[in-house]
């Protein structure tokens, strides 16, 4: 029996990996930014997580993949959709959450979840960029500011402007004409964020407000997006410390369930684990926010990346 499981979220702009021990404690997590779906990115994330945990691929008993590229990863034993995994991961981080807003690079989704992190209902934006990270990117470019600075600037808005178009292309023209009119960048950005917020609240409406709302995904790190969504919702969002890894964590947890069930007999001797498993139906035991990082083992094998990359490359 192996000692760990891994979850990998092979996303459109970033790759994330999470490693858990069989007690559900997080040994390592890694986020790699690599542009579009990229094998290199996912290899870096996996290798980074393994290195940080001081483990080798061989120590991993079960690997579950999620995200757009999930089917391309032959090192994964199983794969699940990002919907199932995000729901699971978000509830593990924030046990009281009943709705998950996840806004990533290419899509935004809202998932209603139950106490065990199981999906009750979900909805996603359509194939256009409306209300996603991409939307912000296009508009940041139009306004000639850095994507990272966008949020802070938007929070300085004095006047609320209304950006009515949610099509990235038309919003771009709208923004340009507002600039030409002499509106401040801050005000315009406020309008842009408010527009995304309205869109998001629409999605929340579709699944229904079932309880506390947690926000995950890259856009959760943009304070203006959070602010405007909170304003539009009229309630506070719960933000996990590492919102980006929710999918990978969920994948790892599903892998953990699977692996532990398979090795039920062998695990029976371990009292501590037993007790945990009894407590733990679907969540990480005793979890408050992000699972704690266990100290890495002393003997940390290095150099996983090159070998892994080779393996993955052959399947892309």
């Amino acid at each position: 029996m192996k000692s760990c499981v891994m979850g990998i979220d092979f996303g459109s702009t970033t790759a994330k990996a999470v490693i858990l021990d069989l007690g559900g404690r997080m040994l390592a997590s890694q986020v790699a930014h690599m542009g579009a779906v990229s094998g290199e990115g996912v290899a870096a994330a996996i290798a980074g997580a393994l290195d940080a945990a001081g483990l080798a691929q061989a120590d991993i008993g079960r690997t579950v993949a999620t995200g757009y590229g999930r089917r391309m990863l032959d090192i994964a034993d199983r794969n699940y959709t990002e919907i199932t995994c995000h729901a699971r991961g978000a509830v593990a981080m924030v046990p009281q959450a009943r709705v998950v807003i996840d806004i990533g690079g290419q899509d935004s989704k809202v998932i209603a979840v139950d106490a065990q992190g199981l999906v009750m209902q979900f909805t996603m934006n359509d194939r256009c960029a409306a209300g996603t990270g991409k939307f912000f990117e296009v508009l940041a470019r139009a306004m000639e500011i850095e994507l990272e600075d966008m949020g802070a600037l938007a929070l300085q808005a004095q006047q609320s402007l209304k950006i009515s178009s949610m099509c990235a292309t038309f919003a771009e023209t709208e923004v340009i004409s507002l600039l030409a009119e002499g509106r401040s960048k801050a005000d315009i950005l406020g309008g842009v964020h408010a527009a995304v917020a309205t869109r998001t609240v629409g999605l929340v409406g579709r699944v229904g407000r079932k309880g506390p709302i947690v926000m995950t995904g890259g856009v959760a790190r943009n304070p203006a997006a959070v602010h405007y969504i909170e304003k539009a919702l009229g309630e506070a969002l719960i933000l996990p410390e590492a919102p980006q890894i929710a999918g990978a964590l969920g994948a790892a947890l599903i892998g953990l369930d699977d692996y532990r069930r398979e090795h039920r007999e062998e695990l029976e001797g371990d009292d501590a684990l037993e007790a945990q498993m009894a407590l733990d139906k679907a969540c990480v035991p005793g979890c408050r926010g992000v699972p704690e990082l266990a100290p890495p083992p002393a003997t940390a094998p290095r150099g996983n990346a090159a070998a892994l990359w080779k393996r993955i490359q052959s399947h892309l």
């Binding site: 757009y68 699940y80 959709t81 990002e82 919907i83 199932t84 699971r88 899509d107 065990q116 199981l118 999906v119 009750m120 209902q121 979900f122 909805t123 996603m124 359509d126 194939r127 599903i254 369930d257 699977d258 532990r260 069930r261 498993m277 139906k281 679907a282």
Partner: protein, 393 residues
């Protein structure tokens, strides 16, 4: 083995006809010298065209990208209506000696008016069936409209349509629907494992072929299917709902079925909705066809009708109970007004009954299948979750 091959062969040939109805129509016309009448969904009584000695063909959406049709119909119309207009604008409706319709979905009317403008020499006839089923004035209206249809078809075909001829046509169509329903029953019972693509080919070909010819092939197919061993499936069982006036793309079925899914039932137009109801017995054939209009909506309610006494959502709930389907995929053609209006009512009922469902908006321009696949897989994961995720007790 041989039987399986023959099954494939029959369904394959029907699928080819359904793919290209105009080829079949041209061939039929040259064989019989009869008129070919293009009819439009959803409640058209094809029997009356058949009784006139003509071939009724339900005009289908076509795969071609919309080109000249763009100058006749706005882009925010459903794919079916845009395709109809584009077919007119690109000469593809030339095989029809007339276009007839009874339904008055607002998008359909806009499309047909554009077709009439584009094809001034083709007779286009609207016998508008009142959509509100509740008022006492509706029934006589429908009968009157069928009478007008009859008259117009007599003019077109140059011969009177006798009551006897209509009765014979009704019998032929009832038989055909009965044969198709038998296949549906077998699918629901897990006796056969035909794919969604194949099931659609069976119904779609019935919409465009001579009814007797179709029934002959169906009868043979049924005898072969009945001799097959049962094909129970361990996959997730789903019901497909929506698309109540035209066919969803077969790729969509393929994609859905590739997610470890068996479709056990549907209420789509090119599916059970089309074959659900036989024309009731009545001495007066026009009365009989009128009765059929009302009976259809009682059996499988459609959101294009306005009827206080039936609900699509209760029908669906019942259908799911009957087949044991574990979830529903709702296929809404983008811009389809009646469906958009009704969807929240369906959703409410699904929630009430705890039925997982997924909404997919389809478009003429094709679908982002990869993205949709993720959603279907997520639905499957939701349905499967107790088995996969929860610790065994």
């Amino acid at each position: 083995m041989e039987q399986a091959a023959e099954i494939e062969e029959i369904i394959g040939s029907l699928a080819r006809i359904a793919e290209c109805p105009s080829d079949y129509a041209a061939d039929w016309e040259s064989r019989t010298g009869g008129k070919v009448v293009g009819i439009l969904p959803m409640n058209f009584p094809a029997e009356i065209v058949h009784a006139a000695g003509a071939l009724p063909v339900i005009v289908q959406e076509d795969d071609a990208a919309i080109s000249y049709g763009r100058s006749l119909l706005h882009e925010f119309y459903c794919g079916y209506t845009r395709s109809l207009v584009d077919q007119a604008a690109t000469g593809k409706l030339a095989c029809y000696d007339g276009i007839f319709l009874v339904d008055h979905c607002v998008a359909l009317l806009g499309a047909v008016d554009a077709i009439r403008f584009e094809l001034p020499d083709t007779p286009v006839f609207l016998a508008q069936f009142t959509a509100s089923m509740d008022e006492t004035t509706t029934r006589p209206q429908i009968a009157g409209r069928i009478g007008e249809l009859r008259q117009r078809l007599e003019e077109l075909c140059g011969e009177p349509i006798t009551d006897d001829a209509i009765h014979r046509s009704i019998a032929a169509y009832n038989r055909n629907r009965g044969l198709l329903r038998r296949v549906y029953e077998m699918r629901r019972a897990g006796r056969i494992a035909l794919s969604g693509r194949q099931m659609q080919a069976l119904v779609k070909s019935a919409m465009v072929m001579d009814v007797e010819e179709h029934s002959a092939r169906m009868a043979r197919l049924l005898s072969l299917l009945e001799a097959q061993p049962p094909a129970p499936s361990a996959k997730v069982k789903l019901h497909l709902s929506g698309h109540f006036c035209h066919a969803p793309r077969p790729e969509l079925f393929d994609m859905i079925e590739s997610c470890d899914v068996t479709v056990v039932d549907d209420d789509i137009y090119t599916g059970y909705r089309f074959i659900s109801t036989d024309v009731p017995d009545h001495a007066d054939p026009v009365e009989a066809l009128t009765g059929w209009y009302f009976a259809r909506n009682n059996n499988v309610p459609c959101s294009t009708r306005a009827q206080k006494t039936v609900d699509w959502e209760s029908y669906l709930g019942q259908a799911l109970e009957n087949t044991g389907a574990q979830g529903v995929i709702v296929l809404v053609p983008k811009f389809c007004e009646p469906h958009m209006l009704y969807y929240p009512e369906l959703r409410k009922e699904f929630h009430r009954r705890g039925i997982p469902h997924l909404l997919i908006e389809t478009e003429h321009e094709g679908l982002a299948l990869e993205m949709l696949k993720t959603r279907v897989e997520a639905l499957v994961e939701v349905i499967r979750r107790p088995a996969v995720i929860r610790e065994p007790a």
